[in-house]
């Protein structure tokens, strides 16, 4: 396949940046999207040009590092995948592909397609944990039975990989899906219920301070989320937060 690529190049946070055109030949449909970029980068290095910087690591859809806005969609046109799991068979010979970084005030561009998502870490630090120290003397793991239904829904929320596709895709750059997934994971488990109120308040406070937008329930995040985190979690966060704010 031959492809025309339009790729965002920006040499550092202060640089203005622009879209640059690249043509690439000999793309195999079996390549992953990132392997296609590897091939392009290899050709740039051969020309002694600086390769395109993009975030990636595990390349199996679980670390949440890769992050491209491809043809107007977070992680590209396929569903329930990260960019590293997107394969070139989803494109046609001669296609033009736009490749851009996540765009949000809270995710400043570092270079080219790499952005700084440390805002997510700070939100977790604000309360995304159960305050239990390491000890060999906690309760036996089976001491509290947890209904399978709750455990499964907690897992579904916990499957979030923190990639930021929800923010990137939301027209308001809202981080509600991310925050709600973590709040839901814990609020569905007895271990997490103890601090549920404080957690919801603190995480939302941090989320607001980071400069993410407000959720307007368009549902785009759920569609583009590579782990298919449900909007139901956002409703649960709203519920948890409002009840916490009321008794605060």
């Amino acid at each position: 396949m031959k492809l025309h690529l339009k790729i965002w190049r920006q040499n550092g946070p202060q640089d203005k940046g622009k879209m640059v055109d690249y043509d690439i030949n000999d793309v195999s449909p079996d390549m992953s999207f990132l392997e296609m970029l590897d091939v392009l980068n290899e050709s740039l290095v051969a020309k002694n040009e600086e390769p395109i910087a993009f975030d990636h690591d595990c390349r199996e859809g679980i670390c949440g590092t890769c992050s491209l806005f491809i043809n107007g969609e977070a992680h590209g046109p396929d569903r329930a995948v990260t960019t590293c799991q997107l394969h070139m068979r989803k494109f046609k010979d001669g296609d033009t592909i736009y490749i851009e970084p996540w765009r949000a005030k809270a995710f400043p561009v570092i270079k080219d397609l790499m952005v700084d998502r440390s805002a997510f870490d700070r939100i977790i630090q604000a309360g995304g944990y159960v305050s239990v120290n390491t000890s060999g003397n906690t309760l036996d793991a089976n001491a509290i039975p947890i209904p399978k239904h709750d455990a499964d829904r907690s897992f579904d929320a916990a499957a979030c990989i923190g990639c930021g596709a929800c923010v990137a895709t939301c027209k308001n750059a809202s981080a509600m899906l991310f925050v709600s997934a973590k709040v839901s994971q814990f609020s569905l488990l007895p271990q997490g219920k103890v601090e549920a109120k404080q957690r919801a308040l603190n995480m939302v406070k941090q989320m607001d301070e980071e400069g993410f937008g407000n959720c307007t329930n368009t549902g785009a995040c759920e569609v583009e989320c590579p782990k298919e985190i449900s909007l139901e979690n956002i409703a649960r966060l709203n519920r948890e937060y409002l009840s916490a704010a009321l008794v605060e």
Binding site: K6, W8, M19, F69, N71, G72, E73, P77, Y98, E100, R103, A104, K105, A106, T169, K171, N172, A173, S174, M176, L201, V204, K205, M207, D208, G211, F212, G213, N214, C215, T216, N217, T218, G219, A220, V223, E224, S230, L231, E232, I234, A235, R236, L237, N238, R239, E240, Y241, L242, A244, A245, L246, E248
Partner: protein, 215 residues
């Protein structure tokens, strides 16, 4: 934190008040539509209802609540939009929003503002004359039917209600999400009810207007 601070000053709180005022306006529309429907029955019935609405003490109090609801909903909506714009200072060169969300859900501010413009016209044409009694000797029913007799007024009216329908179709179920009452078991039902409601409201108001235009 000060008590209840989070209940007023946070992204979730703003959405909550948006939802509460929205649901209040949703209820108001049902009442309004019912009164309008009386015009199809008889002039007397409508005039009586209009008189009731203009004089009943409870309704008089509710008018202020309604006005507050409108103002909160509008001001909050504009504020949210401005904040949301700031959250993404640099736009994408290529955006395919249609792939993941409905047009209606993305254009709440646009439909909202258009409906607001209509509301101003509407208040000037109906509410102000009725309130001030400055109706050029017409009764309520005649005022309504006269206005609907003008094609351009009816056209604006119908277009506005279609826009309102689009606004409501997203807003109805969105409100339940914002207050935290939605989950996956209920979401189908809620969007279904929301859509039916939006069609009834948009269609109801429009058909009444068209009826008076034609007959």
């Amino acid at each position: 934190m000060a008590p209840l601070k989070g209940f007023f000053h946070s992204s979730i709180a703003r959405k909550f008040w948006m939802a509460i005022t929205g649901l209040f306006l949703v209820t108001f529309l049902v009442v309004h539509l019912t009164v309008n429907a009386f015009t199809l029955v008889s002039a007397e019935l409508f005039n009586e209802a209009a008189h009731f609405m203009a004089t009943n003490p409870l309704i008089q109090v509710m008018q202020y609540v309604l006005a507050a609801g409108f103002i909160i909903h509008i001001v909050m909506g504009i504020r949210l939009t401005l904040q949301n714009r700031k959250a993404r200072p640099d736009r994408y060169a290529m955006e395919k929003a249609g792939a993941n969300s409905s047009l209606g859900s993305r254009t709440m501010i646009q439909t909202g503002i258009l409906v607001l413009l209509f509301l101003i016209i509407h208040l000037r044409n109906f509410f102000v004359p009725i309130k001030t009694g400055n109706m050029g000797g017409m009764d309520d029913y005649t005022l309504v039917t006269t206005l609907f007799g003008e094609w351009h007024y009816t056209l604006i009216y119908v277009v506005s209600f279609v826009l309102l329908g689009v606004h409501l179709n997203h807003g109805f179920q969105s409100a339940f999400q914002s207050v935290g009452w939605k989950d996956n078991r209920w979401k189908g039902l809620m969007s279904g009810v929301g859509t039916v409601y939006s069609i009834v409201v948009a269609g109801g108001f429009s058909l009444i207007a068209i009826y008076h235009f034609l007959f």
